[in-house]
């Protein structure tokens, strides 16, 4: 049972990292959102597996929340926003896809090394879980840095948050309250960012974040 538990959760967490790479590679908005849905599904599977392994029934609730909001509600909402605003649907990367992927690989390696060093003596399951979670967080941040488009920045932020959920689910005894709080904070962020997107596009006919900077230059 122990071996199986480790293998499956390792596979699911690894799947999460893989979807993060897929997110990095996408250069169309709808595809990006679909990938995000896929990542959320993998996340909820992973959390559910942790619930099963740890015999912690409240994690099933977390998995369900992740499935409902992240795989369905948030992508659909963003779809609708994009359609309503008529946003140009291809994404400009600041750096090329290949370079980004290489940087992503380096980040994953870094996360593994860090975790091996600071949690070398810990339970292997928890350690690998944390290493993958850290990789997902770093890849999400990388995505926020290399994308120009505000929607893909939002997606990067939310995939970063998936990494946090993964870490929280891997640690035994994390109370449900924390996860509720994290889930709701992402929802609030979605609402805020949605409003924000509307305002930007109304004003500048574009959701390129650079447009905001030119506005600030003038305001200064």
């Amino acid at each position: 049972m122990k071996g199986l538990a480790f293998d499956v959760s390792h596979m699911l967490a690894g799947g999460l990292v893989l979807t993060s790479f897929l997110l990095l590679y996408q250069n169309r908005l709808y595809a990006l959102l679909n990938m995000y849905s896929l990542q959320a599904v993998v996340l909820s599977l992973s959390v559910a597996w942790q619930a099963f392994v740890q015999d912690a029934s409240h994690l099933y609730v977390t998995a369900f929340i992740a499935l409902l909001f992240k795989a369905v509600v948030i992508p659909l909402t963003l779809h609708r926003i994009i359609a309503r605003l008529g946003i140009q649907r291809d994404v400009e990367n600041v750096v090329g896809a290949g370079t980004t992927m290489l940087a992503g690989l380096a980040l994953v390696a870094l996360a593994e090394v860090v975790m091996l060093r600071i949690a070398g003596g810990a339970d292997v399951l928890a350690r690998e879980d944390l290493a993958f979670a850290l990789s997902v967080v770093l890849l999400g941040l990388l995505m926020m840095v290399v994308r120009r488009n505000a929607v893909s920045m939002v997606v990067g932020f939310m995939s970063l948050e998936n990494g946090l959920i993964l870490a929280a689910a891997g640690a035994k005894g994390m109370p449900l309250v924390v996860e509720f709080a994290v889930a709701f904070s992402v929802l609030v962020a979605l609402v805020v960012i949605g409003v924000f997107l509307f305002r930007i596009s109304e004003r500048f006919d574009s959701i390129d974040a650079e447009a905001l900077d030119s506005f600030r230059e003038r305001g200064r």
Binding site: M144, L212, D213
Partner: protein, 670 residues
């Protein structure tokens, strides 16, 4: 109730008083309430601490569930803190009594009344704190409360600058103390003083903690070259607060240093006495030279505080060196001298600041060249100032002489040091102390003579009148104390026995059992001093001389000579001025300690304008040490200012880069 509980109750009442002071500030009742309250409470603390000091027992530790949850707040009164509680509460009691009258002249009482009790509460808290966290918290509270008092008259531009410099230097000092305590606490975080004492740090950490404490406590006490804020901030506050800052707060800093260096930092290392002695002697000389040059009465007093703190630290340096060399009796002598000088300085510096405040409220002037002839208009204030000036100039039979004499006595024991470095350094420091004492006498001849003697130099000085009774009472009490402590030094020395026991593990032999009230620090065959005898001799010879002069000399008929005692011109500007009095000393020492520029602007023959002597004084320490630092900080600020104007992606990139960099450090850390 125990001593520590009573002190904490007094602190709680003071804080309540500070709150109340904010509401009733505008009324005269508010003034009476706040200053009456602080007077009563500081007398209570004085009694409690005096009792604890004389009994000499290590009191109990009180633990309160405040502050950090796993540390708590510990409070403790031992003889060392009891002694400093006596100093602080005595100065505070006198300042409260003085302020009952002086506070009437306050333009903006709402800016003083709430902070005065809070300031006092902060100082008491620092002295009773028994763990690093409580200590630092109280220390910051004390600094901020005094900062608010410096800002009381914030509309004057100089005061705002003074308060700013003070705030920066106070933060710097607290940072240094934080480092000191962190080193003492060690990796396991023993924040309680008792735990630090039980597990002394390794030699390297102890040395660093000692130096950090010297920087942190020294910057608050006003040691050169960290003294620059002191002559700006102390005079800017209202006079009774200036007295508290100079008389009491600098002593709290001395306490902090003794507590860390002598009590907590483990066994002494003789090499550390070297910076202590050098910095102390340098502060003494620099302080008194600056005091001699300055033209503002309150600033003269503030510079003289630097000088006296320097003397205290010289005493501490000798105590430390003797303790390291294993001479407990000599260490006890030097430590007693330092503590006694700290006490004496609190008394006479408060007295002098009260006098300066009285002059300020009577004339509205602090500049020496606008005063003059005040002795006839304010005879009582003048008399008390004279006593204070004589005491601070170390003239027998007053108290200043006793402590400075004892410091010099401990210099005379220095040939017994085993290290040649100290053998050579000690006489040099002793010469510095002697020079300081001599210059201090010159300084206070000037600080008393220019405002009080001669003829008034301005209309304000001419119309001055005596100040109110509360102010006079406060000055009278302190002047009497100067005299009593000078006449009966043996009793004062014996009272310090428990405190020196705690600091250097020994105390001086009992002095009050000596015949005829004399004191002998080492052995009667070597040197002894009898304050009472000297006092009686001075009194008798002065009486005899004046009797003889009045009986025999003034009977003769005199004719007014043509040169009229050097005053043929009736204008008061022909008198000695502050600048002219200090000119010889400025010429001798000016090039070393200051950047002095004297330029004579002589009119050509036939021109009708007067000749002028232009004098520019620059502070060498400020120019060489602080100005480059300020320039560097400003440059760095301009560079960092670019961070305010990045794009969103750049901000994210900065966060991302920082995170990755930290992770890389974590991954590659050896």
């Amino acid at each position: 109730m125990t001593a520590v509980a009573l002190c904490l109750a007094a602190v709680a009442t003071l804080l309540a008083l500070a709150l109340a002071g904010g509401f009733v500030a505008a009324t005269s009742f508010g003034r009476a309430l706040v200053y009456g309250g602080t007077l009563a409470l500081s007398l209570l603390v004085l009694l409690v601490a005096g009792d604890a000091l004389l009994v000499g027992a290590a009191g109990e530790t009180l633990m309160l569930p405040l502050g950090l949850p796993w540390v708590g707040a510990r409070f403790h009164v031992d003889p060392l803190s009891a002694f400093f509680l006596v100093v602080v509460s005595l100065a505070a009691a006198a300042a409260s009594l003085y302020a009952l009258g002086y506070g009437r002249h306050e333009r903006d009482p709402g800016r003083v009344l709430p902070f005065f009790p809070a300031f006092l509460a902060g100082m008491i808290l620092v002295l009773v704190a028994a763990d690093a966290y409580t200590f630092l918290l109280s220390w910051e509270f004390m600094s901020l409360a005094s900062w608010a008092l410096v800002m009381a008259h914030h509309r004057e531009e100089q005061n705002a600058r003074a308060a700013y410099v003070y705030l920066v230097m106070a933060s710097f000092g607290t940072l240094a103390l934080l480092v000191a305590f962190a080193l003492l606490a060690g990796p396991d975080g023993h924040y309680a003083f008792a735990a630090m004492r039980a597990a002394p740090p390794a030699a390297g950490a102890a040395t660093l903690a000692f130096l950090a404490a010297l920087v942190g406590a020294g910057s608050k006490a006003g040691l050169a070259p960290l003294h620059v804020w002191l002559p700006l901030a102390h005079p800017a506050a209202p006079s009774h607060v200036s007295a508290m800052m100079s008389g009491a707060m600098t002593k709290v800093a001395v306490y902090a240093f003794i507590r860390i260096a002598f009590d907590l930092a483990g066994s002494p290392d003789w090499r550390l006495a070297i910076p202590l002695l050098i910095v102390g002697a340098a502060s003494g000389i620099i302080g008194v030279l600056q005091a001699l040059m300055d033209n503002d009465l309150k600033r003269v007093l503030a510079y003289s505080t630097i000088e006296n703190i320097g003397l205290v630290f010289v005493g501490l340096g000798f105590a430390y060196a003797f303790r390291a060399a294993g001479f407990p009796a000599a260490a006890a002598l030097a430590m007693t001298a330092a503590l006694l000088h700290a006490f004496n300085h609190a008394v006479f510096k408060s007295l002098l600041f009260f006098g300066a405040g009285a002059v300020l409220s009577a004339t509205g002037e602090r500049r020496l060249d606008k005063l003059g002839g005040l002795l006839n208009r304010m005879p009582a204030t003048g008399l008390f100032m004279l006593v204070g000036a004589a005491a601070i100039s170390a003239l027998p039979p007053l108290n200043g002489f006793v402590s400075e004499w004892m410091i010099l006595q401990s210099v005379l024991l220095s040939p017994s040091f085993p290290q040649w470095t100290l053998k050579i350094l000690a006489p040099a420091v002793g010469a510095g102390v002697a020079l300081t004492a001599a210059l201090a006498a010159a300084c206070f001849v000037r600080a008393f003579g220019i405002p009080f003697l001669g003829r008034p130099r301005s209309e304000a000085a001419e119309r001055a009148g005596e100040v109110d009774r509360f102010s006079l009472a406060a000055m009278a009490v302190l002047a009497a104390l100067c005299l009593v402590a000078g006449l009966f030094p043996g009793q004062a020395i014996d009272a310090l026995a428990a405190a020196t026991d705690l600091a250097v593990g020994a105390h001086m032999p009992s002095q009050s059992s000596m015949p005829w009230l004399s004191i002998a620090p080492v052995a009667a065959s070597r040197s002894s001093y009898n304050g009472l005898l000297v006092g009686v001799f001075i009194l008798m010879s002065a009486t005899t001389a004046s009797t003889i002069i009045h009986r025999f000399a003034s009977g003769a008929v005199r004719r007014a000579p043509a040169w009229d005692c050097g005053f043929p011109d009736s204008s008061p500007s022909t008198q000695y001025s502050g600048e002219s009095f200090s000119q010889p000393i400025r010429r001798v020492f000016g090039r070393i300690a200051f950047v002095v520029e004297e330029r004579i602007d002589m009119p050509r023959p036939g021109e009708t304008r007067p000749a002028r002597l232009e004098l520019r004084l620059g502070d060498r320490i400020w120019n060489t040490l602080y100005r480059p630092l300020i320039v560097a900080v400003e440059r760095a600020a301009v560079q960092l200012n670019r961070l305010q104007f990045l794009t969103i992606r750049q901000y994210l990139g900065v966060v991302f880069g920082a995170l990755v960099a930290l992770l890389v450090v974590l991954a590659t850390w050896p």
